[in-house]
Amino acid sequence: MLINFNFRVIWEYMPLFLEGLRNTFLISIVSLILALMVGILACAARLSRWKLLRAVSIVYIESIRSTPLLVQIYFFYFGLPTLGLRVPELETGIIALMLNSGAYIAEIVRAGITSVPNGQIEAGISSGLSYTQRMRFIVLPQALGVTVPPLLGQAIVLVKDSALLSLISVLELTRCGQELTSERFMPAEGFLTVAVLYLCIYYCLKPLAGWSQKKLIFREEY
């Protein structure tokens, strides 16, 4: 079986794979940064005292979290142009990933903020600290610690989710495997290489998660 495995073709297609890897990496980074902004805004809206903002944020978060990412990507890619909005594939993909991850990040950040016991906030109020001061000195430093590890988890999910962009013909890593399959009919070589490269990204991110867990999570017991 292994005898049929063609390493030469992998080498031959390496420039393509590296381009795919680079694109996957760039798509993920850009989407993640945008998703962080969307997520923080959505979380702020979710915790806002204005009902309308809260409602908008809840509708956004729930509709994203309850529908498949592929459906969202198809909606933006096929649906929006029929409504008169034409956006190139790559941008469409990034927008879809941004909105999708943003909803999850909003919930992660919210969990971090609400994990700070109310009593501490009351203690802050009692000593005359303003809302901004309470957020800055009491809530956020503690929320950050519990938020960063799940955020890195979400970043890893985002990298893997970006594979779905291959379905709207964005040349990212998974798409390279498909090219090798359609041009040479070598799916084993193609997708194994793709998988190994995803693994490389994963192992670049994983130590960060471990490090942040050690550094940032404030532990109750010493």
Binding site: G119, A123, S127, G128, L129, F137, R219, E220
Partner: protein, 242 residues
């Protein structure tokens, strides 16, 4: 210093404060007791507006709390509040817990605040624990840090909401000692507690609440030995049996 005039408060349909009238003078130590759910905590939480009330008048240090235009930051800065569960900030050292509000609310210089913080920690007997995190301290020590945190604002009034109820028995004394000393220095204090020894030793008045009403008030010895109402007598016999 603190004047309640016909104060009413409802949580939904529950009438938690029912026509409260009370006058706490400057330098007075008032102990508030009563069964759980009687409104004691709510009563003292109204004093620094952690709770709002719907009807009546409340004056604290000359400010009218029923008037919504008052400066709450200023009001709260002048009132220390000690919680049953301490509520120290776990990511800060004892000293940082104590100096946070002086630096950010009173806007005093950092160096000055550190000196002030150390002085207050020394006052509650924890000079050597300034750099410790709350999780490294016992319950009694945490509660004393919480008291120092209140004192660091040089408050005019100190409010205590069951400050010893969450403590192991052997740590209650160290917290009460600090409070007794504070009372001796003439601090105006409202203390929700069932510690009768403390009440007898330092309270000028004991107030008994039940079902949102202020049922009885009187000198501690008189209240504990000869309660005027049946409800108070029943309550006292219950806390005395153990």
């Amino acid at each position: 210093m603190i004047v309640f005039k016909n104060v009413h408060k409802w949580f939904g349909k529950l009438h938690v404060l029912n026509d409260i009238n009370l006058h706490v003078r400057s330098g007075e130590v008032v102990v508030i007791c009563g069964p759980s759910g009687s409104g004691k905590s709510t009563l003292i939480r109204c004093i620094n507006r952690l709770e709002k009330f719907q009807q009546g008048e409340l004056y604290v240090d000359g400010q009218a709390l029923h008037d919504h235009s008052i400066n709450l930051t200023k009001l709260r800065a002048d009132i220390g509040f000690v919680f049953q569960q301490f509520h120290l900030y776990p990511h800060m050292t004892a000293l940082q817990n104590v100096t946070l509000a002086p630096v950010n609310v009173r806007k005093i210089d950092k160096k000055e605040a550190v000196a002030l913080g150390r002085e207050k920690l020394a006052r509650v007997g924890l000079a050597d624990k300034a750099e410790a995190y709350p999780a490294q301290l016992s319950g009694g020590q945490q509660q004393r840090v919480a008291i120092a945190r209140g004192l660091a604002m040089n408050p005019k009034i100190m409010l205590f909401d069951e400050p010893t109820s969450a403590l192991d028995p052997e740590m209650i004394g160290e917290v009460l000692d600090v409070m007794v000393q504070l009372a001796g220095e003439g601090m105006t204090m409202c203390v929700v507690t069932h510690e009768m020894g403390f009440a007898r030793q330092v309270a000028h008045r004991v107030i008994f609440m039940d079902a949102g009403q202020l049922v009885e008030k009187g000198a501690p010895d008189e209240f504990f030995d000869h309660p005027k109402t049946d409800r108070a007598a029943q309550f006292i016999s219950k806390i005395l049996t153990h």
